[in-house]
Structure formats: C-alpha cells, structure tokens
C-alpha cells in the first residue's frame, strides 16, 4: 500500500482503502459468490459499473452474470468500504492529531530549553556578581585590618615619642648646662696636663651625648610625623616631609648604611591621609633597601633614588633602586595580597598591596617597572586636586 501524506478528510482512493492482496482476495471471494467472475479495478473498463462510496466513485466493477448481479456486488463492496474507510479516517485523524500534539510538545520543550538557558545565564551573572562582591568585602576587610594595625602601631609610637620628648628635653638642656659648668670648673682648678686631658675628654663626652639627644629628638619627630597621630584623617600633606621622615626611619632600620639620593622638587600640598602615605613611602623604600641587600654589588655600591616631581595635573613620587629586580614570573603577582618571596616571618606579602590600595584611595595609581638583576622603579602618581 502506498504511503501518502494526505489530509485525513481527503476522499480516499481504492489504493488508500485496500492493499493489492486485499483487493485480490475481494475479487476472488466475490467471484465465487457470483455466477460469473467479477473484477474490481480503479480504472474504468467497458461494461463496468461504478462502485460509489460517499458520493465518490472509488472503483469500477466489471464481469458478473447479469447487471443485477453486478449492481448487487457493487452494493456489497460499497457497504464493506464504509467500514474500511471509517477505520482509515480515524487512523489518519489520529495520526494527524498525534503529529500536531508532538509538534506542540516539541515547541514547548524548545521554549522551556530557551528559558532554562536564559535562567542559567542569569544565575551565572548573579554568581559572578556575588564573587565580585565577596572579593570587594575581602579587600575591604584586609584594608581595615591593615589600617587598624597601622593605627595601633602609630598610637604606640606616638605615645612613646611623647614620653621620650620630655626627658630628652631636660637631658639635653642639663647636658648643655653641665658643659658650661665644666668650663667654669676648668678655670678654678690648677692647669696641669692631667687636668687638661680630663677636661677635654669630659667636654667631648658631653658634646657627644648632646649630639645623641639631638638624634633621639629627631627620631621622635620623625615617628610623630610618620604616625601623624595628632592629625585628622585627611589633611593637606607635604609629601617631601613625609618622604624624608620615612627615609630616616628606613635608615634607622638598616643601620644608616643606605645610600639614599634625594631629588625632591618643590611640591604643592596634597590632600591625603598622612599616615597611610608615610606607610606607603616606608614600604617602597624598605623594599628598595631589601632589593639592594639581596644583590651582590662587589666593589660597587647599591643606591636608592627618591624623587618627586610635578606634572600638569599630578605629582609623581619615584622610588628607584639598582638592586636585584623582580623576576618575570613574579611580576604579575606582586600586587596580590599575601604574596611574598621572602622567608616565612620576614614579610607579610602586603607591602605593595597596601601601597597600591593607598594610591587608589587617593585617586592615584602605582606602577612598577623592573628588570631582573638591573633594578626596580616604582612610580606613585597622585592627582594634585585630590578629593
């Protein structure tokens, strides 16, 4: 039986209704019922009468003994066709509706898939946003931790400095008075060579001690500037002063052995957070000092250049060393928090992280140029019109 895609309601042909075998069988049984053989065919032959079904001529019947026999046979075939057609109609309609339902299901399935994909994309976006927020929170937490630590260290330093300031004041003044007394005493004693020697030595001792108190006073002053404990969070800062204080502290840390070249140009005051800026300068200078100590210079000497200069709308602070430099494979990670190449316990891995955050907090930026073995140059750029 041929398979054609047709509407269920199209008028069926003989081929739609009966297969070749079935038609043969129908011809055979009808012929044995009739007095003479009959033939049912789709094409009209001479003497054939139509087999009608539902107003449609579905076949032609020929043969038979008489016209009456032909018409009775035709009637019987029409009667049979009705049941065949009924089944075929129902089957075709069922097929049509099943196809339509399936197509509808597929459409819905596609729509569902599209919407699922949309929700998945949305969920990914949300996850990304959450991740971003989490990283912001972690960053802020780190900054808070750093600034709290810095503040407590600063408070301690300022407290110590304040306590030291008074005794140093009267020690220094007493020493000066004592030196005058020595001069007076010298005049009232017989001038023997022994006495001369004793007085000169005594005088030198007191002078050296006074020099010591001056140095103590200067360290105390640097500490106060560094911690900026008596200043509000944001104030107008003199960057050169902050740099000098930081440089003194780094010198103290490294036994006054560093060769620090200062090229500080005239700068306008900059609105900023002095203790954070000081901490940044200290970190940069300290890094430079470490880089020098990590390199074998032979008979040559490591140097640190500390420079400030003014551009059209920004100030640049440059800290440059000719030390060991940063290896290529580390350069991408130098700003990562807790990333350090130093042995455990000697570096937190936060120096550059905090330095760059401070630069960003002041509306500026921090860039690093480095070549392994040749040195490192860190440039801190701050806008002149800070917030």
């Amino acid at each position: 039986m041929r398979l054609i895609v047709r509407n269920f309601e199209d008028d069926p042909t003989l081929q739609d209704l009966l297969s070749v075998d079935q038609l043969e069988r129908l011809n055979r049984t009808l012929s044995s019922l009739c007095q003479a053989p009959v033939t049912i065919a789709e094409q009209k032959t001479t003497g054939a009468i139509p087999v009608e079904f539902n107003l449609e001529t579905v076949a032609w019947l020929s043969g038979g003994h008489s016209p009456e026999e032909r018409s009775a046979a035709s009637e019987l075939v029409s009667f049979l066709m009705m049941f065949v057609a009924k089944y075929r109609l129902a089957a075709n309609l069922h097929h049509d509706t099943t196809e339509a339902s399936y197509a509808e299901l597929q459409r819905q399935n596609d729509a569902l898939k599209t919407s699922e994909a949309r929700y998945r994309a949305l969920s990914d976006q949300l996850q990304q946003k959450v991740d971003e927020q989490v990283s912001v929170i972690q960053q802020t937490q780190q900054e808070l931790y750093e600034s709290a630590r810095l503040r407590s260290v600063g408070q301690l330093a300022a407290g110590v400095a304040h306590e030291i300031n008074n005794p140093i004041g009267f020690i220094s003044s007493n020493l000066r008075v004592a030196r005058d007394y020595i001069d007076d005493l010298k005049d009232s004693l017989p001038a023997t060579p022994d006495h001369e020697e004793l007085f000169r030595d005594f005088h030198d001792l007191l002078s050296e001690s006074m020099d010591g108190t001056r140095r103590i006073a200067s360290i105390v002053a640097d500490l106060k500037t560094f911690s900026s404990i008596d200043q509000a969070d944001y104030t107008m800062c003199n960057l050169n002063d902050l740099l000098r204080s930081s440089s003194h502290l780094v010198q103290t840390e490294h036994g006054h052995q560093l060769d620090i070249i200062e090229r500080l140009n005239e700068l306008p005051p900059v609105a900023g957070h002095p203790s954070r800026l000081s901490q940044t300068f200290f970190n940069l200078l300290n890094n430079a000092a470490q880089a020098l100590s990590d390199k074998d210079f032979g008979d040559r000497k490591g140097r640190i250049l500390m420079q400030t200069q003014m551009g059209t709308d920004s100030i640049q602070v440059i800290v440059q060393d000719n030390g060991c430099g940063i290896p290529d494979d580390c350069r991408a990670r130098v700003f990562d928090a807790f990333y350090t190449t130093r042995p455990v316990g000697s570096g937190t891995g936060l120096g550059l992280t905090v330095a760059r955050d401070t630069a960003h907090a002041h509306g500026g930026d921090l860039t690093i140029n480095s070549r392994q073995g040749a040195g490192t140059r860190v440039t801190l750029t701050l806008p002149i019109k800070a917030r």
């Binding site: 509407n7 269920f8 309601e9 079904f53 539902n54 107003l55 009705m82 057609a85 009924k86 109609l89 129902a90 309609l93 069922h94 049509d96 509706t97 339509a100 339902s101 509808e104």
Partner: protein
C-alpha cells in the same frame, strides 16, 4: 476554505458542528441523515466509542450538481465535545467553511456553553480562521427538556452578536435541525457564491443551493 478541483469540476465545502460535550451534535447529524433527501447523500459515518461519546468525529457527505456539471459536495462533521479531545477538535475544525454551534439550553450548562464558545474562538484563531467572517449559526438544543433557559432571555443575551437570531432546536425530536441547517446554508451561500460564480457559471442559485441541499423526504416534509 472551499476545496475546488478544476480538473474534476468538484467543489467540496466543510461544515462543522461544534459545541460543548453532550449538547447533541451527533444527534443533529443523525437527524439530518434521516430527514434529508438531497440530490446526493452518502453514508453517515459515526465513530463513536463507549457510552456513545464521540471519540474522533462523525461525518455525513451530501451533494448536488450544477448545470455546468459542477460536483458540489458538503461534508458535515461533528467534533468531540469533551475537553480532553482538543487536538482532535482543532484538526476537524481546520479549513472549515461554516459552523453550527450547538449549545445546551439547560441552565446548568451555560458555563459549559461559554467555555466551548471560547474554545471555538481560540481554535479558529489557531487554524487561521476568523470567527467574525466565518458563516456560523448558533443553535440552542434540548428545548424539549423542562426548566430550560427562556428563549427570550437567550435571544436578548445574543442580540448584539453577529449570530442573532439564535436557532432553537430539539434534535432528539427532530425539531429545528433542518431550520438551523438551512440558516447556515443561507450564510454559507452568501460567503462563497461570488468566489466560485455559483450562479453565473454553474447555475446554482441561492434557493437551488439551500433547497437542493436541505431537501427532505416527502413524509417528513409533511410533518414539518
């Protein structure tokens, strides 16, 4: 849409009996089968299942010939009224040329009527037909039952629709079935006669169309 096959000079029209479950669509068709005596009439094909509920559809073909030899056929279909057979309803409804909406007159069935009518609107749209231009007759059936909604009330309710006046019927008794069918034939003729030049080319006038397709047996005609 009418199916015209030029090589056979054959025009096939499709009329669908639509409506809520158990409103009497099949009964309408069975009555037409027994009452009508048109020029040509085929077998009534009833595809019922358990409890005499229509599972697929029923179909009755009738026809007449024009003076040009036009083989004009009208296939009358019913749809299954039960809600779950919606895809079958849609398949039967596709390419319909006219609708007889068979509603149930019992007060308890008014919601079902409304739902079935909504479903008809929806399905017509899905198969690309326009309810406002499609020839349609609304029949309220089962007028023989006691306690049915008053005709006046029904007529008033539908008065501002394109389907007023409503046809009243009692299909089981054979009342109003032929009248509903003739009303539909009238609207159908108006809708299609020009397109196929029924009058000029095929000699089928409005009255030939209506009378030819709704001719009744003599005995029944006397009864009407």
């Amino acid at each position: 849409m009418p199916d015209y096959q030029a090589h056979d000079n054959k025009l096939t029209l499709k009329v669908v009996f639509y409506g809520p479950a158990l409103s009497g669509k099949t009964t309408n068709l069975m009555q037409l089968h027994s009452l009508l005596n048109p020029e040509r009439k085929g077998e009534l094909m009833v595809l019922e299942t358990r409890d005499d509920r229509t599972l697929f559809f029923d179909m009755l073909p009738i026809g007449l010939r024009g003076t040009s030899g036009l083989d004009l056929r009208l296939k009358l279909y019913t749809v299954p009224g039960q809600v779950q057979h919606d895809s079958t309803r849609k398949a039967v409804l596709s390419r319909a040329d006219g609708i007889v909406f068979v509603a149930d007159s019992q007060p308890s069935q008014q919601d079902n009527n409304a739902m079935a009518f909504g479903n008809l609107e929806e399905n017509l749209e899905k198969v690309g037909l326009d309810i406002d231009t499609l020839p349609m007759v609304v029949q309220f059936n089962k007028r023989d039952l006691p306690g049915v909604v008053e005709e006046l009330e029904l007529q008033q309710r539908w008065t501002s629709t394109p389907w007023a006046p409503l046809m009243m019927a009692s299909a089981l008794q054979g009342n109003g079935v032929i009248e509903s069918f003739r009303a539909l034939l009238d609207r159908l003729y108006i809708a299609i006669s020009d397109e196929f030049a029924l009058e000029h080319r095929h000699g089928i006038f409005r009255h030939t169309f209506i009378d030819g397709l709704s001719a009744c047996h003599e005995a029944d005609r006397a009864k009407l």
